[in-house]
Amino acid sequence: MTVMTTAPDKRDNAPILSVRDLKVHFPIPGKGLFAKDRPLKAVDGVDFDLYPGETLGVVGESGCGKSTLGRAILQLIAPSGGQVAWLGKNIVGIPHRDMQPLRRDLQIIFQDPLASLNPRMTIGEIIAEPLVTHKPELGKDEIKTRVKRMMARVGLLPQMINRYPHEFSGGQCQRIGIARAMILEPKLIVCDEPVSALDVSIQAQIVNLLQELQREFDLSLIFISHDLSIVRHICHRIMVLYLGNVMELADRDSIYANPKHPYTKALISAVPIPDPEIERNKERIVLTGDLPSPLSPPSGCVFRTRCPFAQEKCATDVPTIDRVSETQEVACHFHNSI
């Protein structure tokens, strides 16, 4: 079996999704009775394109806004600004009625497989819900047939259709979640940390399943994860987020072979490698400190407080996104010198 290792050819296709300057600010009540609300900038100006059949990895530490970004794209959280163009048409702020039919093509898979399934419903009912919602004209029998077909496709025994979520293991629950997302044959699935709650031996099963489904249905995936080793495996392009800002966006080979942003370098070097020789002798860039509060992000470059290479300029000027090659963009003043 061959696997697509490079992104589908962009020149032939228009992007399926274009995100421009997307912002999500949550109002946080100010301290004191008459204080103004302060904005928590969860996502602060994100741009990217996603092409058909492509997987974009969104990586970053907790609190970097990656899950918020995924939900803002799906309009599950209303963005505060910017545009999300689905098949060329902006969907930010459009009426509920117009959004409804688009939901057929936009799906999501969650991190906690059990929590994402209604414990009072059988898995047959759970997987059928999107069909019942969008294609009520299909009869009961047809819906059941399709549910069973999809269950078999994702590796679940179809005779389990009347069982309840708590009767399944984590990996199987995630398969149920995938079946529910796939039943309408969507064009885009946002995968929000789909494997991080699973055991190591099961993670690979789920990743392989997602890749198979992607090939079979020409799916586009947005794969949100904090695990850079999984991301290296499944994603064509990778976007690194820090405090709601894009630090680096590049195709897989460039970013792992030649990371440009100091944050990307630190992230990659911090991932433990399951090989004692390599792990004990590798060079590491150790970041000090913790993520600053997104309520009061640092001035200039948001990463400067933890950056080992920070200079004066970083505190004053917000770095622009530089295109360093055909496939790599980076937001750092000094990416050439470090």
Partner: protein, 324 residues
Amino acid sequence: MTTNHILTVENLSTRFQTPDGEVEAVNNVNFHIDPGETLGVVGESGSGKTQIFLSLMGLLAKNGTSTGSVRYKDKEILNLRPRELNKIRGVSMSMIFQDPMTSLNPYLKISRQMTEVLVEHRGMSEAEALKRAIAMLDRVGIPGAAQRVHMYPHEFSGGMRQRVMIAMALLCDPEVLIADEPTTALDVTVQAQILDLLRDLQTDFNTATVMITHDLGVVAGLCDRVMVMYGGRVVETGTVRDIFYDSHHPYTEGLLKSMPRIDRANEDNMFAIPGQPPNLQNLPTGCAYQERCGYVMDRCCQERPLLKDFGDGRASACFREDGQ
């Protein structure tokens, strides 16, 4: 019998009574820890890796019982009364958990929680204890320890909280530190900081450390010896090099192959161990790994392979070892 092992575990079994029947979470486990070494305990959820250490710390859930023997130096400590056990746990043996908030009292200042142990077990005065607490927080890399010691747990970030936990665990200079997935809930950059800290502390204090984890990358960087658990039993033990470069058990092999690696571009599908983790309530006859094993033989479904010792702490529970 005197040995220089600091902790010796023999034939430890742990059972839980549940409404749906008895569950054997840990089955006949034997191992020991020497001063200053790091033992990695690897396994999936439900493999019993955590329950072993909850048993020996006397922290089992109410419906659990343990049998066998656990000796701290030469003293039997399994099923000791809490009053007796308290002289050892938290003093000579400490445990840190995945979620630091489970062992920090949210309503008490860190200073209070840290000095309490010292005053109680070391007979220090409040002032001395506070001084030591601050020194320890400083040692684990908490900036401004003298001020932050008077804060409440929720005022710390996840990584800082874990540092506080480690500082608390090390307060009484324990000889054994048991770390249960201490970095799983943390971000990679913070995980790297904590792992560095644990490595440093080990050289400074010569504490024997047990690292319970599912992440083989963490094991590779930190551990001297490794014990692999599956379905409540030990399936393989060996030095870290044995396990990573010459694994004997098919499960260890599968686990290593299925780990995604950041240093390699995979051009093919990932290797995945098929099937689901075993259900402890309903283990098959024979080897617990049979349904997922690529080398399964008829014999595996009939009898259970015993842990076979090859000397030098190397052991594996698989019939393939006999067949050669």
